[in-house]
Symmetry: C2
Subunit: 215 residues, 2 copies
């Protein structure tokens, strides 16, 4: 099988979830001026085994070199291409509470290609207010903005109770994926993937780990 075919095959979720870490590490090494990295040193830096690293990287359209390892520049480019982050991705953010405002103000996402082009809120008390250089817009503008700016991703940082309703509105407005920062579980059609990032869940998981390791 040639590499063209291979990269079209579905990559296991577990592997996709590690790819952003490899990408971050490849970027870092390249910035540091490191030109080559072995599967073993990637593994050590990321808390994995070299075997896992080689298995994972076999899913991208990029080859290592015997005795030298992987070119950091090549690895970075191939990972970005595989993930689809080698070009800008347009996002909107719904929910201008503390968390939403922080994400809108955070510049790191834009630097990595995730461009936020609008901040929305359902509360009339918040609509019209400024968040950095954004002016918070009403939900009624959603459909038009998504269409005009070709928005791909909707970021949800609304209260738990509102989450599903807002997700439904985002889907109707034709965003193609959702980043869910709420505690709610979102139901979406199969064509609209959801990735969850729940700080509260992580804290609870950590509470368990802390307790179970102490004894």
């Amino acid at each position: 099988m040639n590499t063209e075919d291979m990269t079209r095959l579905k990559i296991p979720v577990a592997v996709v979830r590690r790819m952003p870490k490899y990408l971050t590490q490849a970027q870092y090494l390249r910035q540091e001026g490191v030109q080559w990295v072995s599967s073993l040193s990637l593994a050590e830096a990321l808390g994995l085994t070299s075997s896992t690293v080689r298995q994972d990287l076999s899913h991208i359209d990029f080859q290592g070199v015997s005795k030298r390892g992987y070119s950091t520049v090549g690895l970075e480019a191939a990972l970005a291409r595989t993930l689809g982050v080698d070009h800008d991705i347009t996002c909107i953010l719904v929910g201008a509470g503390n968390l939403g405002r922080a994400l809108a103000l955070h510049e790191g996402f834009g630097r990595q290609g995730f461009k936020i082009v609008g901040v929305f809120d359902s509360s009339p008390a918040v609509v019209g207010k400024k968040v950095g250089h954004f002016i918070v817009r009403p939900m009624a503008d959603l459909v038009a903005v998504v269409a005009q700016q070709k928005v791909e991703i909707g970021i949800l940082s609304v209260p738990h109770e509102a989450a599903q309703a807002v997700a439904d509105q985002l889907i109707l407005s034709r965003v193609r994926g959702l980043l869910n920062l709420t505690t709610a579980h979102l139901r979406t059609p199969a064509a609209v993937p959801v990735v969850d990032t729940r700080v509260l869940s992580s804290l609870r998981e950590l509470a368990y780990s802390v307790r179970s390791r102490q004894v």
Copy 2:
């Protein structure tokens, strides 16, 4: 084996990661006045199979009832006990950038028992500034605050480059677990668990999902 023994056994990570979701759902149902919930309806609400739900809940010290399901009140209590979130957990936050300030201002965590008792930053420009009712403290105060307030969890929201050094300081100050919001991979001794919540990684994972589902 009695249930006492069982709950002392190590619970698989995959199960621990789902427990916060069951807890959120049990809380929600209880608040709505629902008294009983079946494994099937939990599964439907959370996007799982009823088989997974029953397997998972067999790890907590709590029994369902044939023909009725699980008592929402009992389930909530047992999950909170198992996770170790049936009492307050003291946290500090390091890094008073946009994200850090947002988390400090967010009231939801405190309501769920995660009490932030201090906000720290290494930048003299930020130290002394107010974040909500907190006054940002210098890193030099870390050890004393952790000891005096019995801080269990350190939340990291510093820049990538500073992450490992700050993690090391937190470990020296004797926090017992780290919530890592940075893009860095943290190396810690086995006794100090780390849970990662990386918004950028989630966005990248989502970018891949969006692209692979469209075709």
